[in-house]
């Protein structure tokens, strides 16, 4: 099954190696997405070009309606673009069948959701084994245990979601995203349902995974504070990328206090502030 998949997907070892000799994980060219709602056509994406390299830690930002969620769905192989090309880890995803897309999601993408999306009344171990089951992989319990240990939950293998804190539940979800060794982890507001302390913990795990294991991480968020912990910010507006820049000095999770209410309020009142590289927008 796997070999068949590789042959058809045309994975190449000579996949484009670009800037700084790094391999591109995500290559998007001229991607558009149009929804038809009755007689009205909604252009959610109007031609997006984007390349994300192996080992990058990127956040995609944008207000509601900017096409942020649509882009995430396409990046996550949950949806197909109306036109344009999307290569994920050398595989042209924009032409795949439903079943092949499922395989791409299984092998190449690890999802982390805002609301964790854990199965109820299922142990942490079983949650993490889920992608392995659909992959038909062997050595499941060993791999799941290793993944849970890497997020600091080695002692909580048999805990149910109801017995875990929000931060711990999200860590189970991260372990689940990691377990198939995907090309990238796609996280949708991963700290959105967490308090500041748990949020910082989760951010720390992502930073560690990115720094120490070179895992590519893509955050989709509207929270500039979260985005400041990543290395690169991509800003979407009305279905197009309006800004794409590296963050000079990313924050280190847990080392900085979130700006006080007063500061945030002041920022809202005084400046148009989108997060990320402030110079770009001032």
């Amino acid at each position: 099954m796997v070999s068949l998949f590789r042959r058809r997907s045309g994975r190449r070892d000579d996949a484009p190696v670009a800037v700084q000799g790094r391999k591109a994980v995500i290559e998007i060219q001229g991607v558009t997405k149009t929804y038809t709602m009755g007689d009205i056509e909604v252009h959610a994406l109007r031609g997006v070009d984007l390349t994300i390299y192996e080992g990058e830690f990127v956040s995609i930002m944008g207000p509601s309606g900017s096409g942020k969620s649509t882009l995430m769905n396409i990046l996550g192989a949950l949806d197909q673009p109306t036109s344009g090309a999307y290569r994920l880890d050398g595989v042209d995803v924009s032409r795949l069948s439903e079943a092949d897309l499922a395989k791409v999601r299984n092998k190449k993408i690890g999802f982390v959701f805002q609301n964790f999306n854990l199965l109820k009344r299922t142990t942490a171990q079983r949650q993490v084994e889920l992608p392995l089951i659909y992959a038909g992989a062997g050595g499941r319990s060993r791999k799941a245990m290793a993944a849970l240990e890497s997020v600091g939950l080695g002692q909580r293998l048999n805990h149910l979601p109801s017995e875990l804190s929000g931060g711990q539940q999200q860590r189970v979800a991260i372990a689940r995203a990691l377990v198939n060794e995907p090309a990238m982890i796609l996280a949708d507001e991963p700290t959105g349902n967490l308090d500041s302390r748990s949020g910082a913990e989760v951010l720390q795990i992502f930073q560690t995974l990115n720094r120490e294991r070179g895992i590519t991480v893509v955050f989709v968020t509207h929270d500039s504070w979260i985005a400041r912990h990543t290395q690169r910010v991509i800003m979407l507006r009305d279905g197009q990328i309006v800004a794409d820049a590296p963050i000079a000095e990313p924050l280190i999770a847990g080392h900085n206090e979130r700006p006080s209410m007063e500061d945030e309020m002041e920022a809202v009142l005084k400046t148009v502030y989108y997060g990320g590289n402030e110079e770009e927008y001032n």
Binding site: G76, L78, E98, A102, R105, A135
Partner: protein, 413 residues
């Protein structure tokens, strides 16, 4: 992903939602239980009725002094003892083994202050052999009793109970009156099974010698110099000779009664097979009716499964979305939901068999005469039907789950 994994995922999901799973199976449990219980009940009643008629005695023919319903004959010439005796002859009727005669005497039987209206039978002594009955107390009517037209009587247990207050009493030697003539009780018949009585209570009977009935109870002689006989009880040589025995009786009596054309008979010949087949038709309808009722409850159970599976698909939309996000294909989801519903309905089928067994056990306690049992075909049918229900009613919800788009499913609140 292989079938074993799908099975494990389905079982996990069912265990996670125990209450819902239990409620879903309830419909099937009741449906299958009803099928097994009712079908067995129908069969039990059929068997009971059949055995009731078989208890009349094997290879038995009855000849009544009444025209068949299709007869065009106006008057009835009664059968006589002379005709009965002639039929006993091998030359006339080689297929008849035994022939007993019965003359009915309607009247009031009394003992002390207790009196009952009863049709007392005057019978030949070989009557008890033809009917395969046995005596509980005392003795049956002897040839000698008959020859001297003795005023003796043999009672059934119901008559003993109504005359003496308790069916266990042994009334041998006591006297009763039949139409104010005094008789001595010489015997009591063993209680006959049944009593629900499609053919009447076989214990509500009293017998005296046929000659007593014919000579002491006011019967006049017939034209041929014999006495009136109301019923001939004939035992054929074996089951194969039933038809020839019927033919011989028909020929002889038609000749004796001057019947020239078919349809002019003033007598009716009935055999067990006729009775059984006409009653079989009735009980067959009963069984079909009960099966129909049970089938409807199974259908309702199946719709219940579909209903709850559909609710379950909606309720688990996010789960489906997540499974698809981590790599489940439509086929994996379809298989999971299908296996879930098949497991539920097979489980329901198994528990339904248990429920059916319970119904049958209780039924057997309440009506001991019905021999009820779970038949293999009912169990096989229940298993087949419940797995069919699982697939049939599970397919639609499962395909709905499989067709969900992961983004819609994940966004679902």
């Amino acid at each position: 992903m292989n079938l074993f994994e799908s099975l494990r995922i389905a079982i996990d999901s069912l265990l996670i939602n125990r209450l819902r799973a239990a409620l879903t199976t309830l419909g099937i449990i009741i449906g299958v239980g009803a099928v097994i219980g009712l079908v067995s009940l129908g069969r039990g009643v059929e068997d009971y009725i059949a055995s009731e008629f078989q208890s009349l005695g094997s290879n038995v023919l009855f000849v009544f002094s009444s025209p068949p319903t299709s007869s065009t004959r106006a008057g009835v010439q009664p059968m006589t003892t002379k005709e009965g005796e002639a039929l006993r002859s091998r030359a006339v009727a080689p297929s008849i083994r035994t022939l007993a005669m019965e003359t009915l005497v309607g009247g009031i039987v009394a003992a002390g202050s207790n009196a009952i209206q009863l049709s007392v039978s005057g019978v030949t002594p070989n009557f008890i052999a033809v009917r395969s009955w046995t005596i509980r107390d005392g003795a049956w009517i002897s040839e000698e009793d008959n020859d001297r037209a003795a005023r003796v009587i043999v009672l059934g247990t119901t008559v003993v109970e109504r005359l003496f207050g308790d069916k266990a009493i042994n009334p041998v030697g006591r006297t009763v009156t039949v139409n104010e003539r005094v008789f001595t009780v010489i015997g009591v018949l063993e209680e006959q099974g049944g009593g629900i009585g499609f053919i009447g209570d076989q214990n509500e009977v009293a017998f005296m010698p046929i000659l007593t009935a014919q000579t002491r109870m006011g019967s006049a002689r017939t034209r041929d110099g014999g006495y009136r006989v109301d019923v001939l009880h004939i035992q054929a040589l074996d089951e194969q000779s039933m038809d020839s025995a019927t033919q011989e009786v028909e020929t002889f009596l038609s000749d004796a009664h001057g019947v020239q054309f078919q349809g002019e008979q003033d007598f009716t010949i009935i055999n067990q097979a006729d009775l059984l087949s006409s009653l079989g038709a009735i009980t067959g309808i009963l069984t079909v009716f009960l099966s129909l009722l049970a089938g409807i409850s199974l259908l309702v159970g199946g719709i219940g499964i579909m209903n709850i599976m559909l609710v379950s698909v909606t309720e688990r939309t996010r789960e489906i979305g997540l499974r698809k996000a981590v790599g489940a294909r439509g086929g994996d989801i379809l298989l999971q939901f299908l296996i879930e519903s098949v497991i539920l309905s097979l489980l329901g089928g198994a528990l339904g068999v248990a429920l059916g067994w319970l119904i049958i056990t209780i039924g057997a306690l309440l009506v001991p005469d019905l021999r009820l049992s779970i038949t293999t075909d009912a169990v096989v049918l229940a298993t087949f039907v419940s797995s069919f229900i699982g697939v049939f009613f599970g397919l639609y919800p499962a395909s709905r789950a499989a067709r969900m788009r992961p983004i819609d499913a994940l966004r679902f609140e």
